[in-house]
Each structure stands twice: as structure tokens, then as C-alpha cells.
């Protein structure tokens, strides 16, 4: 219990003193995860909408695969990306293993199925008559898709939040492909693991609390966007 208070006190101290190392770690966490979420949003929402709106043989199989992807352990995604990026691997020539870019790639692999799976459900959940109605009013296909996305705004924002939450809190892949390199690829989660390994439980707890605050900030922002009243 005492440790918990120590952790809160340490977190407060690190935040108040604007500890440079902690700030840069926090910023990197935000950058990497925001970018991975952004890319997964593009792939996930568009891909999910395409899957939801089209009819093709094997659709159930595809949706099942996407839904399974939502549960892939980050460490497995990390292992896969590591093998791809190894010097001896297919993308070895780019030498991006142990860089922030590698973490973005791995986190995109983790977040995309999350965003896509929820997007499929969100679009499929719209009343089928809505599509016909929009088209009957003379909208083009592109306009129809846009209106559907707006209509499914609430669950789609939830999909993005799930994606961001999934990657900002993930440690296995970031550790594996980033390497937790000081001042370069160390993010909040890998720093937390390292500090607990070092027995600095108060610092570890403090980093965990900072992660929570960061996560709250981002989700608050997204929630504000989500809950905004659309002029009718």
C-alpha cells in the first residue's frame, strides 16, 4: 500500500519537475501509438466498411479472420514483425528494426484488426433500408458511404479508441521490435517493465500512472469528438 503512495508521489514529482527523460518517453509513446492508430484507422475503417457493404463468397471467413486478429497477442505480432525486419529477413535491407518506425509497424498490425472488426460490426448494424433511402435521394455511392460513416460515428470512434488503447498499453511488441533503447525507442510500457525489473517499483508505478493520464487525455479528446452533436 505504501508503495502505491510512493508511486503516486513519484509520478507527481516526475510530472511537476518535467523530467526530460520521462517527457521524451511519454512523447514517443504518444507519437508512435497515435501514428499507428491513424494508419490503422485508414486501413481499418475503409477496409471494414468495404467488407460490411459488399457481398462476396467467403465473407464470413474474412470477418472471422478479422475478428480473430482482434485477439492476436501483441508479442506474436511483434515476433512476426521482428522476423520480417531482421537483417536476414525479407525487409532487412531497410535496417528499421530497433527504430520507432518498427514499433509503428508492429502496433499497426495490432490495431488494424481491432479497428476493422468493430467497423464491420458498426456498419452492418445500420438499418439496411438506410442505404436504399440515401441512394433513392440521389446520392452517389461515395456520398452514401460518407453518410453511413457519419451515421455510424459513435461505434467507429469507439473502434479508434479501442485501437489506440490496444497499442498504447501494449508492451510485448514494442519491446521486441523497438528494443527499449534509451532515448530512442523507450516508450512508457517498456520503461515500466524495465524499471520493475530493476526493482524501482515506485518509478515503474509512476510511469504506469503517466500512461493512464496520457490514455485518459487522448480518450477524452476522442470522446468529445464522438459525442459532439451533429447539426440536423
Amino acid at each position: 500500500m505504501e508503495l502505491l503512495f510512493d508511486g503516486i508521489a513519484t509520478a507527481w514529482r516526475l510530472l511537476i519537475s518535467l523530467d526530460r527523460e520521462v517527457l521524451s518517453i511519454t512523447l514517443l509513446s504518444l507519437k508512435v501509438s497515435a501514428l499507428a492508430t491513424l494508419i490503422s484507422m485508414l486501413i481499418g475503417v475503409l477496409g471494414g466498411t468495404a467488407i460490411a457493404l459488399s457481398r462476396f463468397p467467403g465473407k464470413r471467413l474474412v470477418v472471422s479472420l478479422v475478428n480473430t486478429g482482434m485477439g492476436v497477442p501483441p508479442v506474436v505480432a511483434g515476433l512476426f514483425v521482428t522476423i520480417m525486419l531482421w537483417r536476414s529477413g525479407p525487409f532487412g535491407q531497410f535496417e528499421i528494426l530497433y527504430t520507432p518506425t518498427a514499433i509503428v509497424i508492429a502496433q499497426t498490425f495490432i490495431a488494424t484488426p481491432l479497428v476493422m472488426g468493430i467497423s464491420v460490426a458498426a456498419i452492418q448494424n445500420l438499418p439496411p433500408a438506410l442505404r436504399l433511402q440515401i441512394l433513392a435521394l440521389g446520392a452517389s455511392r461515395l456520398q452514401m458511404v460518407w453518410l453511413l460513416l457519419l451515421e455510424a460515428r459513435l461505434p467507429l470512434m469507439a473502434a479508434i479508441m479501442a485501437g489506440f488503447g490496444g497499442v498504447v498499453s501494449e508492451v510485448g511488441a514494442s519491446m521486441m521490435v523497438g528494443g527499449n533503447i534509451k532515448g530512442y525507442t523507450r516508450v512508457l510500457t517498456t520503461a515500466t517493465v524495465m524499471e520493475s525489473g530493476r526493482g524501482n517499483f515506485d518509478t515503474a508505478l509512476a510511469l504506469g500512472l503517466i500512461l493512464l493520464v496520457l490514455s485518459f487525455g487522448v480518450n477524452y479528446l476522442l470522446t468529445v469528438i464522438q459525442q459532439r452533436q451533429r447539426p440536423r
Partner: protein, 272 residues
Amino acid sequence: MVAALLALLLTVPAVAAPRPVILATTTSIQDAGLLDLLIPLFERQSGYRVKTVAVGSGQAIVMGRRGEADLLLAHAPRDEQEFMTKGFGSRRRPVMQNDFVLVGPPGDPAQVRGQPITEALQRISRTQALFLSRSDHSGTHTKELELWQKAALSPEGRRWYQETGMGMGQTLSIASEKKGYTLTDRGTWLALRKNLALEILVQGDAGLINSYHAIEVNPALSPRINAAGARVLADFLVSGQAQELIRNFGVSRYGLPLFVPAGAAAPLRMRK
């Protein structure tokens, strides 16, 4: 918002001009904090960027064999020798030493306190006292297996011999919670002991020396190996300046040094 995020992307640090050196090392050195002292200094002096990847010695050696790392800093002498004889490494130099200790519950149910390590392990086996093994192919695990072998015992699979598969910190915590014995390097022990209900029971045995070597990976393994950078970094680690930093490392925090530099005139003096 998209523009802001793209701006964030562009500020992600770019790779410095000389090719970075990938240093695969053991978690024990990173956990002790030694690399946080040495590596930034090296980067400032040499202009090289070092990508330090802290893994177990076993994984570090595998990374070396695959040509995925340029320099290894490991503490598994037997595996390292095999690595060298098979031609995976081009040069291996001693960097520093410390020692392993056997820790266990203060009650010491197997009565191992002060015994030589071989006798201590035999007593643990005889009394079937709980022993926690890392079982993660780390340098510490390799050492532990070597010690069991010397004691003519093969404890794998016995009920009192539990394999955690975890790092040193977690294994110590488990040993503390379950009142078991375990082998640890002294550095991790010093860093974590304030949270542990364990005591050092066996130390100072010649069989418990823990030596760290820097191994340059043979550039013939892969055209992407940064042999020049690895050589400069290894030269730095054995240089007088780095050796002096190693000698004094930990004194202010733990009251005693964690490592003895390999360049020291006197051989390893066991601390009591």
C-alpha cells in the same frame, strides 16, 4: 489533426550518419544501469549510435549467430567459447567480472549456509527444498546448470525444482514469496534485496565467478554487420576510461562496486 500527426511522424528521430551498432547484451547489465552510464559517453565520443538490446545471454548468442547483432556483451562463457570455435565471432575480450550468490529463505531449511556451492546444491537436492530456476537460457541459467552438473545432479523435472522461465527480478520475487532457493548475480541481488525476504547463503566460492566478455560478431556472417562500429565499441569497453567507470559503478548507490573491471591488476576479490 492529420497534419499534426504527420508532423509528429517527421520528428521521429532519424538514423545518425555513421551506421548504428547493435549491441546485444544481458538484462542483468541493463537492470544494474551500467549501460546508461557507458553508452551515452561512447556515443558522444565516437559519433556512433548504439542500439542496445537487452536480452538473455542465450538470445544474444543466437542473435550473433544470425548476424543480427554487431557486438555481444554476454556472461555465458561455455556458450561463448562454442560460438568462437564455430567461427561466429571474430574477437572475444574480457570486460568485467562479478559473482553469483545462492540466496534463500533466512530459515535455511536445507542448512546450506556457508557451505561450498556443490555441497549446498547436494543438500538442497537431499532435503528436496524448493529451488527456483530461471530456465531461460540466460547466463545465470547456464551457470546454474553447470553447477548442478558439477554436483553430479540432474534436478530437471523433480517436484522441488521449479522452472520460472522469467528474468532474474521475477525469479527472485517468486523465490521470496515461495520461500525457495535460487542462484542470482550479485548486481541484481543488490538492486532488489530491499523488497525480498531472502538472504545470501553461499558466496565467495571460486565456482561462482561471473565474467562478462565482449564478442565482435564475424563480419563474414552477413554483409550488414557493422564490424568497424563493433570494434570501436569493444575497444571503448576495455579502455582505461570505461574500466575506471566500471570500477566505481554502484558505489554511491549500493555502497560497494557491482563489477570488477577485467583490466584490474588484482584478480577478482570476493566480497563478503
